[in-house]
Symmetry: C2
């Protein structure tokens, strides 16, 4: 009787953790310590101790690869530029934060008590990536791929809708400049032949000050990337 | 007899291709068309036709993931910053070009006749990444992982030596400024609390003109990244 109570006292939190995890993962986790690590935010770690940042790096790679594979098969006739753009939309920080929120990850993440409002907080998306890393180490690539596709993408993302969204940083920057009475200019700073194509180096300038530079064989893409960097650097 | 000659005429180039491929891959390729596509450079493609760029995107993801996994296991006690840096060193364009050259990929790549000197040409590294993508589609993740580790990394890369190389962009930029009689300054442009840590925004300035900006929780890393962007933008 006493043994049973000790047993319950020691094991039931882990049992509870396993049960809730199973709902999110769709399978019974094997190596629990991986998942504890995935939910361990740096704000509750002493300097140098283990938090979820290593797993996040691993999970980020798994995610990128699963999505590349998905897009490769789903869009057999689209060029790599389209696929790169689609992938950026799918794995964007905002998207990952939102999916993590919908998957109820805030209930799992161990963090400093002072971090209250988690919605749109990057630590959500980071923990989700760390979770992918944990699943990869627990089940291997195939298992992680299934988790990403069945538990993250299928219920929470509409790829057809994402395809139509235009992340147009150039018009975003131009609009911002106009409402702030600034001059926005895109200049071709360099053109060079490489690989038998022309590589464009394009800068986005606000009031003559360079705010972003990008290179691409595709002029429009270079402008978009330069505009994106400019938006970032100006906090737009 | 005639049939046999026709048979040989039609099949022997493919047989030869398979035989040479096997030497590089370490296994007999199944779906040859994937490998033909991997070696098909854009310079011999009509607009819109299939070249190796889609496979390159896929292979790049596989490579990043295999290396993340390798580093995760090889360096169990290192932080994510170290792993990110090591991965950048391993998968750098220069490194990939060199490995592709050592693996004799120039013999395989179909390209415009005017492209002669392939050493250090980015199309080499790109074709190697496309080849990884082809192996992934042909054999799956495990097979691609084996190919990357056994045929690319083990024979051609010394990870312990790479660990010691310091890609110090800050000192590169400072040295360049000194020999060109320019003033190089790193300024903290912003400090904000995020995730309960301090996020530094640091700019690299040459003669008061901003040449690169980067953010990181690690001040030194933000300086390095800002310096790297500055080196890039100045063509150093």
């Amino acid at each position: 009787m006493i043994l049973r109570r000790i047993y319950n006292l020691l094991l039931s939190p882990e049992k509870e953790f396993t049960r809730s995890l199973r709902l999110i993962l769709g399978f019974t986790p094997r190596n629990l310590s991986l998942y504890h690590q995935a939910f361990h935010h740096a704000s509750v770690t002493e300097e140098g101790a283990i938090n979820n940042e290593r797993l996040e790096l691993l999970g980020d790679s798994v995610l990128n690869m699963v999505i590349a594979d998905l897009l490769f098969r789903k869009f057999p006739n689209r060029r790599e530029g389209f696929m790169t753009e689609m992938r950026s939309k799918i794995v964007s920080r905002a998207q990952m934060n939102e999916i993590a929120f919908q998957m109820a990850l805030p209930n799992f993440i161990r963090r400093s008590h002072s971090i209250r409002n988690l919605r749109e907080n990057d630590l959500l998306g980071n923990a989700l990536e760390a979770l992918i890393g944990a699943v990869y180490l627990d089940l291997g690539y195939k298992g992680a791929q299934r988790f990403v596709l069945d538990k993250m993408i299928a219920p929470h993302l509409n790829i057809a809708a994402l395809e139509k969204i235009d992340y147009n940083f150039k018009s975003k920057l131009i609009n911002w400049a106009q409402s702030n009475k600034k001059v926005c200019l895109f200049k071709v700073m360099d053109e060079k032949r490489a690989d038998h194509r022309i590589l464009y180096k394009i800068g986005a300038f606000i009031d003559e000050v360079e705010q972003g530079v990008a290179e691409s064989f595709n002029k429009k893409q270079a402008e978009q990337q330069a505009a994106e960097l400019a938006c970032k650097s100006l906090g737009i």
